[in-house]
């Protein structure tokens, strides 16, 4: 009887024993302190006038309605010592930008304090917003405005270029040729 009760207790322990899902606490490595996803434009560095913000929000909403792709603009007060490439990927995952399983989110991220800018693209959109395209938008549309101190102007120009590309009806092959993609 006592043995049976012990067995029952042991089995109950096993049954209830937190299996988790093989996700130990250790796997959650140090993360930066991310801003809250308050909308399609998260202007933590306060670079955008309300009018710009409204315009960008509208463009992002329209492109999601048309294509399903999610596009978020974020400005940061600080990168918390992280490289922008690293920060951007973590932020995109943290926020869960893009549809699950499609991974078709894009984040345009500007960190004025560190003077860094990046267009981070989910795996599902790499064939549309290609590396050379993103680099070119930053180099030719954003950085020149930033250098003149026109931060909002650069952000709007970069966002417009990304939104246009998300809307593009060109085939993947045409985009490859257009952007000079090799891999």
């Amino acid at each position: 009887m006592a043995a049976a009760r012990f067995l029952a207790a042991a089995l109950l322990l096993l049954a209830a024993g937190g299996c988790g899902r093989g996700q130990p606490a250790a796997a959650a490595a140090a993360e930066p302190s991310f801003p809250v996803l308050t909308g399609r434009v998260v202007d933590r560095a306060d670079l955008l006038a309300p009018g710009d913000e409204a315009k960008l929000t509208q463009a992002s909403a329209a492109v999601e309605r048309e294509t399903g792709h999610q596009f978020v603009v974020v400005t940061l007060a600080s990168l918390d010592g992280y490289k922008i490439e690293d920060y951007a990927v973590r932020l995109g995952r943290h926020w869960g930008i893009g549809r699950k399983g499609v991974d078709d989110g894009v984040i345009l991220i500007v960190a004025p304090r560190e003077r860094k800018v990046r267009i981070e693209v989910g795996y599902g959109l790499e064939k549309r917003v290609t590396d050379p395209f993103a680099a070119k938008v930053i180099r030719e549309r954003m950085v020149p405005a930033f250098q003149k101190g026109h931060l909002a102007e650069g952000i709007v120009a970069g966002s417009d270029a990304v939104v246009d590309r998300l809307r593009s009806k060109a085939s993947d092959a045409q985009i490859r040729a257009l952007d000079g993609v090799v891999t």
Binding site: M1, R5, C19, G22, V89, D131, P132, A134, V182
Partner: protein, 200 residues
Amino acid sequence: MNRTRFATLMLVPVAAASLSGCGVNSIPTAEENAKAKWADVQAAYQRRANLIPNLVATVKGAATSEQNILVGVTEARANATRVTLSGDQIGDPAAMARFAAAQNQVTLSLQRLQEAYPQLQSQGNFKTLMDQLEGTENRINIGIRDYNQAVQSYNTTIRTFPAVIGAKVFYGAKPMAPYQATTPNAEVAPTVSFDTNTSR
């Protein structure tokens, strides 16, 4: 009395289901996850390898090229392409180190290439390729981090109750090796032949 026994009997399938649900099945799940993440790492390295012939051709066409550096890149790439690592070898630290060393030579040779041709940086075609190279290197870094996290998760799973029972009894599961992109002797010059007469 009867009720107690009944309760005990009821608990057996519950416990068994819970064991198979997380304890035992979590091991192959974690293992497959790590292998999938490793496949991503290799795919990113493969993309880099695919870029290199175009990069070399562009440099050759645009500049009075320094033969040594171009040969160095090409040979490092050829060597790295030969050193492959299947999903089943990812528990093998020595095989991982060989793979990392070969890829690291490619990284170093590409750095030399960039440093050697500052005048090419503004040339359109070269710039486009460098943008892609940078993107690829970034994907490699993300892939490695995701893989190492998956390995850590797997290694913890096989050591943690109750999965540890399944790990010992059913699978003989061994810990997997994390991937270190920079090998201890990473700064050592590559052992490639700069002799342009040999056709290797």
